[in-house]
């Protein structure tokens, strides 16, 4: 079976960073040796959330903001499946903010790839929780005044198993981060800076490309204090890479009812 879905042509704008994420995902899945039949892509609603339709996988494209609890339920019911979320910044940090806060605590082995374009794409350009201060939209007519959410720092504070950032302007790095996230145990957050050519004229491809800098080779992601400091950086230089790793046990490991094997496969036996 082919790794690309033949039926659906992406409904994204030409030039949208989502294409790069799709391409990187296909490569990362291949590199990770993932059996597509045992892969579930989970998403909410938004431009990013359409991704699962454009590749081959089992798909749960649910409600806006609710990818995390759905993915959690899937992973609990069958923890032998690979469960990856591909959804937007509004989806995961706005409508889905409470699940974000609590999924990390739970540390279930779901990998969340967040297409962070700092804007609400599908609903035509309102501010998202990650929009920079001053970002002007038809709703935020005088510009955003709220401090942006910093998902990475929040995740480090919550001792998230795997916390990384990448960017569509660095496709190989992006693929590598995906592979690392998939390899990691427990909950993984990969925040992906993604250009929206239509509604975000500030944080463009070039804007990201100019600012993103890979973490140095000797960076130690297990140093939490440093990770916290690193995750707080934003502006002229934006670090990309694996910012933090923790060796907490995963939900699956800590849940006695799962010890004998996947619930869905043992059912009735």
């Amino acid at each position: 079976m082919n790794a690309e879905n033949k039926k659906q042509a992406p409904a994204w704008c030409p030039g949208c960073g989502d294409f790069a994420i799709l391409a990187a995902l296909n490569k990362a899945l291949a590199a990770s040796g993932i059996d597509r039949k045992r892969l579930v892509l989970v998403s909410g609603i938004g431009q990013a959330a359409k991704l699962p339709h454009y590749t081959d996988a089992n798909v749960f494209n649910g409600l806006h903001g609710r990818a995390l609890p759905a993915a959690t339920g899937i992973k609990i019911a069958n923890h032998s499946l690979d469960v990856i979320i591909t959804s937007g910044d509004g989806d995961m940090y706005g409508e889905g903010g409470n699940h974000f806060l609590h999924a990390i605590r739970r540390n279930i082995g779901v990998k969340a790839f967040v297409h962070n374009n700092q804007v609400y794409g599908l609903t035509k350009g309102q501010a998202s929780p990650t929009s920079d201060i001053g970002f002007v939209t038809k709703i935020q007519t005088h510009g955003v005044v709220s401090v942006p959410v910093n998902p990475l720092a929040l995740a480090v504070v919550e001792d998230c198993s795997f916390v990384a950032r990448s960017c569509v302007a660095f496709p190989e790095h992006l693929e590598k981060m995906m592979v690392e996230a998939i390899k990691s145990k427990g909950f993984a957050l990969l925040d992906i800076l993604q250009n929206c050519v239509t509604f975000n004229k500030v944080n463009t491809f070039k804007w990201y490309k100019d600012r993103c800098k890979e973490l140095p080779a000797d960076y130690n992601p297990r140093d939490r204090e440093n990770a916290l400091r690193t995750s707080m950086k934003w502006g002229d230089e934006i670090p990309i890479g694996v910012i933090y790793r923790s060796d907490r046990k995963s939900f699956e490991e800590m849940t006695p009812a799962l010890a004998a094997g996947p619930l869905a496969e043992r059912y009735g036996k």
Partner: protein, 554 residues
């Protein structure tokens, strides 16, 4: 012959402990036990009460009057004294309960018997047994059972307290008429919550995710208690939205899953219910009602959420709602909800309320042997499998991920393969397909129960009003009124034919725990009812037979 014993006191005083102890002991004596609770939304203080009604015949309702009142503090005494029956007795733990009250220093007696103040519970139970003239053997057994984990000394002390209670009962001994033991089938006392939780476990629920909310927490807690035995993952969610979406995810991946909640939490789930309609997932919701709107009376009972449950969620899709009238029926319908949800790949709701979840009765033992429902999942599906094949029944063969082909679900309108579509004809085909499932559900709707036989007048009821209505019908028929009841254990969807068969041409009085007679209105909407009268209650208390009789005779 029946006797109603009421234990009352403030929260934290042990009202529940005494009540539970007595209920178990009476059941062991071979009495029919019917125990109900009334409590406030606080952990200490206030006025709580626990009624244990016992009889040599089956019981279906609580009684308003108490034949024996045991009050653990002044406020409880004062607020319950008027409810003591004419031949009844009131006992007060203290020195000066006042005229017509038997004042017994039960706390003092507990200490005298070598126990702690908390053991007043055992003293009180002893007093009750003495007053009813029952031998205390079964009470001793119950205590032995209850304290076996704490060891011999605790058992001995509690037994001594019972003895002391019998001793101080004095002139009260045998003063309250009591039914003859040994007439009821022996069986353990079980609550509505326990029956429902057990049924779900037996039916094969594997994932339970809820956010605590009275009066649904009992079922959630019982499932947590059963989790290890039945291999269930019980996960407290961060909110109700997470709970219902987690359940949707778990059913997609292939296991029966459920959530438990009450009105406010259910409101937060409305979008998720709509999702399970669209994705055609068998999400099961246990909805335990309390009065509304908003927070209202968190620990009280009501039947106010029927319209909301029938229409919760945007868009149009099929769902089934069951509403049990007895504990045994609750056990059966919890399973039925799982079966219907899986057969029609649609959300199903078991709708109960504070009254029936807290209700305790000794009934024929409920099977605890695992008996998982058929998930109706197709295995070994071919590579060209599509999730939403258009069929006559509207039911598409359901596969789960991990098999021979991709299983694709989308909350957007989709083509049969589950992928997003903007095609308007596909939309109509899928929407029609989904709606056809409702026709299938209607064909299988549970018929109402008519009791005892068709009559000129019908009390129309659903859910927990069954028991009180049934006793009211017995009372009114004994007085010569040609009345019966029609109880609907399933309230959605509606089969107008079945409803008309039960109600057509008769004088209908809806007996409902809400302001608007919601179920009667649903029947009228379905074209199955014209004019009707109503006996409603919405003060937070459950119906009683007396209440219905009073209102029916107005």
């Amino acid at each position: 012959m029946d006797t109603n014993i009421r234990i009352t006191g403030e929260a934290g005083q042990g009202v529940q402990t005494i009540g539970g102890l007595l209920a178990d002991s009476f059941a062991a004596l071979g009495l029919n036990v019917y125990a109900t609770q009334s409590y406030m939304s606080r952990i200490r203080g206030g006025v709580n009460s626990y009624d244990i009604r016992i009889s040599d015949a089956p019981l279906y309702s609580a009684r308003e009057e108490a034949d024996l009142l045991v009050a653990l503090n002044r406020e409880s005494l004062d607020s319950n004294l008027a409810a003591v029956s004419s031949a009844g007795k009131a006992v007060f733990d203290g020195a000066d309960g006042g005229d017509s009250v038997v004042s017994l220093d039960m706390t003092g007696a507990a200490k005298e018997a070598g126990g702690s103040a908390r053991m007043v519970n055992s003293v009180a139970a002893g007093v009750v047994f003495a007053a009813l003239g029952y031998k205390p053997d079964r009470l001793f057994d119950a205590l032995t059972n209850q304290f076996k984990k704490l060891g011999e000394e605790a058992i001995a002390k509690n037994h001594a307290c019972v003895g002391k209670g019998i001793e101080i009962a004095g002139q009260l001994k045998g003063a309250v008429k009591a039914p003859e033991p040994g007439k009821a089938p022996l069986g353990e006392v079980v609550s509505g919550s326990e029956a429902i939780g057990l049924s779900a476990a037996v039916a094969g629920v594997k994932v339970v995710s809820s956010y605590p909310m009275t009066p649904s927490t009992g079922v959630f807690t019982h499932l947590a208690y059963l989790a290890d035995k039945y291999g269930i993952v019980v996960e407290q969610a961060e909110d109700e939205i997470a709970a219902i979406n987690l359940v949707c995810g778990a059913t997609f991946a292939g296991v029966p899953a459920m959530t438990t909640t009450s009105g406010g939490g259910f409101a937060l789930m409305a979008e998720g219910i709509s999702l399970s309609g669209m994705l055609e997932l068998p999400a099961v919701v246990f909805l335990s009602q309390r009065p509304g709107p908003a927070t209202s009376q968190p620990t009280r009972t009501a039947q106010q959420d029927l319209h909301f449950a029938a229409f919760a969620g945007h868009g149009e899709f099929a769902r089934a709602i069951y509403a049990p009238g007895t504990i045994a029926q609750a056990y059966d319908l919890m399973r039925k909800a799982f079966e219907t949800a899986h057969k029609f790949q649609s959300p199903a709701i078991l709708m109960a309320d504070q009254f029936i979840t807290d209700l305790q009765q000794n009934i024929a033992a409920l099977s605890a042997a695992p008996n998982p429902i058929d998930r109706l999942i197709i295995e070994n599906h071919a590579a060209d499998y599509v999730r939403y094949a258009v069929t006559d029944s509207g039911i598409s063969p359901r596969a789960i991920p991990g098999g021979g082909a991709f299983v694709v679900l989308d909350s957007d309108e989709h083509t049969p393969d589950g992928h997003l579509t903007e095609d308007l004809d596909e939309r109509v085909m899928q929407q029609d397909k989904r709606m056809r499932k409702e026709e299938g559900m209607i064909a299988e709707v549970l018929a109402p129960e008519i009791y005892p036989l068709p009559a000129a007048e019908v009390f129309l009821c659903w859910g927990s009003s069954y028991g009180p209505c049934r006793e009211a019908v017995d009372i009114l028929r004994a007085r010569g009124r040609d009345v019966c009841l029609a109880h609907f254990p399933q309230v959605w969807p509606i089969d107008p034919a079945k409803a008309l068969a039960a109600l057509g041409g008769r004088k209908v009085t809806a007996v409902e725990g809400n302001c608007n007679a919601q179920f009667a209105l649903l029947l009228r909407m379905a074209g199955a009812l014209g004019e009707f009268g109503a006996i409603t209650r919405y003060d937070g208390l459950p119906f009683t037979a007396e209440y219905i009789v009073r209102r029916a005779q107005k």
